[in-house]
Symmetry: C2
Subunit: 347 residues, 2 copies
Amino acid sequence: MTDEARLPDPRLDADDRDVVLSSRVRLARNLSGQPFLNRASETQCANIVRTTQHVLLNASISEKIIWIDLDEINAHDRSLLVERHLISRNLAESTLHRGVAISGDEQLSVMVNEEDHLRIQVLRPGSNIDSAFQQVRSTDIQLEQQLDFAFSDRWGYLAVCPTNVGTGIRFSIMVHLPGLRITNELGKVRRAAKELHLAVRGYYGEGSESSGNIFQISNQVTLGSTEEDLRDIFTERIVPALLDYERSARQVLLKRNPTLLDDRVHRALNILRSARLLKVEEAMKLLSRVRLGVCLERLHVPLPQLDDLFIQIQPAHLRQHVNCALNAEEELEIRASLVREVLKDAD
Amino acid sequence: MTDEARLPDPRLDADDRDVVLSSRVRLARNLSGQPFLNRASETQCANIVRTTQHVLLNASISEKIIWIDLDEINAHDRSLLVERHLISRNLAESTLHRGVAISGDEQLSVMVNEEDHLRIQVLRPGSNIDSAFQQVRSTDIQLEQQLDFAFSDRWGYLAVCPTNVGTGIRFSIMVHLPGLRITNELGKVRRAAKELHLAVRGYYGEGSESSGNIFQISNQVTLGSTEEDLRDIFTERIVPALLDYERSARQVLLKRNPTLLDDRVHRALNILRSARLLKVEEAMKLLSRVRLGVCLERLHVPLPQLDDLFIQIQPAHLRQHVNCALNAEEELEIRASLVREVLKDAD
């Protein structure tokens, strides 16, 4: 996954990229006739992996699909997958037999034995819930031809957590909200999200803190509605409202005091371009300000390059970059050096 | 005073400029037969100004000497003189009749009706107590040919404050101590200074706070020793010891963690080169770090240019720079813009 050649970055043209970094749709599915993971034995877990691995590799759900046995790779490689949002932290740290199937373009991944037997997810750059939804759905249909999913006529698809019962679908977008943060309106957004039964999480999903003003916003309840209804509410009401809030906040910053805005974003860029030691949290915070400056056309850095930096500065990616173990001090140095190199032509 | 052409900057070649920004020697003198200022009437104060002004302008103590009547210029122009260290804040803010004679090179100034009737001071860039002492002394001799100074055979020259009685001389150096600050050794220096009866003051002398890690260090007691003894103690013991402390501290920083040092100094330079709003305190702090980097050859900025910036960023100089009144926000902008311009070719 770390070979640059395998990471085409089509994100520049994606929709609403000023606010939406990526869109994700995932389905929770469990195999009929197998116990849920909280009650499954080691043998049963291994069986689930074996069964699903075979199907995933042979169902033609995507070109160049690869299977990664997460028991067999080391913690560092698992962290790389987490940092790329291809598996969850929970799956990386789990002690169950587990694995993941990943498409060549890294947009489709199917986690096996995360919370449910299967978690089918499609990740798209920018605001692209619709196309992610289509791919998730076609993957689901293909898999269901070969796997028998646990389903109740009354409740719909069954899942370990009640919030996933029904359609088992979750829509989420990763959004960059520096405008709302600076204008102190995040609390308002959080309250609105709560009323709309939306979860607001950090850059690395469940249980992670927000970092760089990046938030993952997702629907929480899947019972009692069709997948299409849920999608429509998400894409037609929630996403536009959020975009509107954030963009308005940015315009407020721009109009209220453009010099203060320029001060903020130019300082951030130039600290990144000159630091010799950078902690990941500080780097995320500064990159967030630079991204705001780029979106408001005060700074000039290609957005895909910048968004890729948010991932490249993470610990496992840094280690991969230099291909050796790093102590704490070395990690700060390598991070600073990488950021300086990438941003050297920015202005 | 604000005409650039009148400010030749010979400081690059001056001694020990890595630590010593400037050296100052001053004498306190009072006219015999006139009351000390704390007991003088308005008429008597005016008489002292008239008498001394005449002598100062005619005694040939320096080429191109000018007289500034401090009652007649406005507060802004008085602040300019304070920022250039040509008069004290006390004199600027005093309500007595008062004035100052300043030489064309701005190295000699004679304040009239500060705490004493006369304060003769010579300011030299770098560590140059000896040559400043010579000029102060020759000025004193020339003035004494035309003025009768209050003198007691028992106590020596009389002065308002007992610490100035005797020789009335004070030696001081303006030193930049970022190394001792970062290694947390300033407390040690302060304790040593106290034992040696030295005063440690800020960038603008008595009552001012340290700013940019710049301190003014001066002898406090002038009674009971000759001027030469006091000078020898100052230049042969105190200044070398201080230089040694500071330089050792800088070498510790360099050896202990050169990357951390580079991180600090490069960040500072690049914040200065990119900020759009700069408070004077922040600017002083960042300039201090840049100066440390220059002295340790991690950054490249001409030292005289940098030292001049410490003065140019002060409020009255900024106002003079744009030649109009500035509100608080405008001051921050103009300061940032000036600093960016001056440092644009630094690296």
